[in-house]
Amino acid sequence: MKKTLVAIAALGYFGVSVLLVAGLGYLWYSTGPAPVQPIAFPHTVHAGGLQMPCVYCHTFVERSRSAGAPPLEICMGCHRSIATDREEIRKLTRHYEEKRPIEWKRVYALPDFIYFSHKRHVKAGVECATCHGDVAGMKRVRRVNELVMGWCVSCHRVRGASRDCATCHK
């Protein structure tokens, strides 16, 4: 009697731990560094194959604190005529015609209380890849750096940029 009880308990314990591992796995997959986007945009083709400059789509990266996702008009600029038969492109055109903005899943997000300006960093000569990794090589964009404070600070340290709290903390 006691033996079976213990056996059940043990089974439960190990089972739960396996489930936990699975759960963590799922969590990582759903909210992890490489979310599945509404439209499977291949950076490998655009930034990789065509070697399009990042600025062509992320228009504001040199002008604003937020790089921003390209307005659909920019995509349509080419895809009115190019590769219009592909499924993903059809999705794009549908969005454009129905005047529905595309809600991309965020890959990198900073807390509310942080002030970060792409403009400043780009103008200081930081390559996009320094933080975003080799995006041209990613079929689905993957977070390669956890944006933790120490990471930012160490880079500021190395480059001799300002390390006053108020530089980043609003």
Binding site: V21, A22, P53
Partner: protein, 430 residues
């Protein structure tokens, strides 16, 4: 010059090969270290409480155990120490890829390990001679154990860095930042597995006593079984929880499906161990020692593979760590051989910018991408800027083999600038 300084990047397959070699080396090494630690712990504890109330059985077990785990001092030294520098250097060189730590970081645990082995062998030889152990060797044993444990811990901290490359700049500037939660958890996991393995080994090798021997006999064997079983149980029960913690504390970039799969194996194996030990019959032949041990070895393997994959993930897609500012800015800057006409320069500069940001999406001068190479199409406009500008303003499909060129969203002055730039460049100006 740091002896462990970075080599030039290796060809990827070499890297991979070495990585697998390293894995197997670790697989050999970590369990061994673990056994030594766990075994000597057991021995010391038994000895301590044995002495307290004249308990020959525990004293004897204590002796046997330490003998089992440290076969003799030379082997101990050999096995314990030789692989270490190799692994350290390998980690440095291949796991880390572009990373490097100061040599001292690897030398400290190595030294600790050395000391640990020596002290433990002292203890071992002492306890082999007599059961009524004088204080000094006991202390030596304690010290040795501590040294071993700290050595192991430090190594794990160092390995932990490689799962979180973003930390490296910090560690370089301040070694304290080597501390990390997931390294701690991994270390605990390692200890748990080691104790389990030690338990397995105890069940396998110890307690084979001839009758009539002092402190021998069946109850001694019972004692051995309980000891072994409890060690094994402890390991089996601790492992799953620690695995979960390990996954939680692992830096996100290190995670991937493989890691989770590998991690999920461990609780299952642990369950198997538990079952084995729990259903352990009291009889001689039912010794599950070898099976238990092998299961624990498997768990070790899983953990190590987990770790390796995590490291691989962490480094995948990561570009060069930030160097000082100058390095980046120098790479920028225009390239010019033929000077353009004075005054024209500004317009050309502007034109180039437009080309870089807009046209270059589909066009190059010499190669065909989406659109035709300029060197083929632009020359026909030579000396006729307006015509080219008109085309850019609203393009018309010319060559059926290319998709129609979309109307670029650029302003009039930009159109003018880029047209001039194109003509100038195809003329061979650079």
């Amino acid at each position: 010059m740091n002896p462990l300084a970075l080599p030039p990047a290796l060809p990827p397959d070499t890297n991979l090969l070495l990585r697998y070699l390293l894995t197997s080396a670790l697989l050999l090494y970590l369990p061994l270290l673990g056994i030594v630690i766990a075994g000597s712990t057991a021995s010391l504890v038994l000895n301590f409480f044995g002495r307290e109330n004249r308990d020959d059985r525990s004293l004897r077990l204590s002796r046997e155990w330490i003998e089992a785990v440290t076969v003799n001092r030379w082997i101990l030294l050999l096995l314990g120490l030789l692989p270490y520098p190799a692994i350290a250097y390998a980690c440095q060189r291949f796991l880390g890829g572009r990373t490097s730590l100061p040599a001292i970081a690897w030398l400290v645990p190595f030294g600790a390990l050395l000391a640990g082995c020596l002290l433990l062998s002292l203890y071992r030889s002492a306890i082999c001679r007599s059961t009524e152990l004088p204080a000094a060797p006991f202390g030596a044993g304690m010290a040795g154990l501590l040294a071993m444990i700290s050595a192991a811990f430090l190594s794990f901290l160092l390995l932990g860095i490689l799962v979180n490359p973003a930390k490296l700049p910090l560690v370089r500037s301040n070694l304290v930042f080597i501390l990390s939660w997931h390294a701690l958890v991994e270390f605990l996991l390692f200890l748990a597995l080691s104790f389990g393995l030690a338990g397995g080994i105890a069940l396998r090798f110890l307690g084979r006593s001839k009758a009539g021997e002092a402190g021998g006999g069946p109850d001694y064997e019972a004692r051995v079984r309980t000891a072994g079983t409890s060690f094994g149980m402890a390991g089996a029960l601790a492992a799953p929880a620690l695995v979960v913690l390990y996954l939680i504390t692992l830096p996100v970039p290190g995670l991937s499906t493989e890691v989770f799969v590998m991690a999920a194996i461990i609780p299952i194996l642990a369950l198997a161990v538990f079952a084995l030990l729990y259903l352990l019959p009291g009889k001689e032949e039912g010794r599950p020692g070898d099976r238990v041990s092998s299961l624990f070895i498997l768990m070790f393997l899983a953990v190590i593979l987990c770790y390796q994959t995590a490291v691989a993930n962490a480094f995948q897609g990561l570009s060069a760590p930030p160097g000082p500012l100058a390095a980046e800015t120098v790479s920028k800057g225009g390239k010019g051989t033929v000077k353009p006409a004075a005054g024209e320069a500004a317009a050309l500069e502007k034109g180039k910018k437009v080309f870089d940001t807009v046209c270059s999406v589909c066009h190059r001068f010499d190669v065909k991408i989406v659109g035709p190479p300029y060197n083929d199409v632009v020359p026909k406009y030579t000396g006729n800027v307006e015509k080219l500008k008109a085309f850019i303003r609203n393009p018309v499909k010319v060559n059926p083999s290319f998709p129609a060129m979309p109307k670029p969203s650029i302003k009039e002055d930009e159109i003018d600038a880029v047209a001039r730039y194109l003509l100038f460049t195809v003329k061979g100006g650079k």
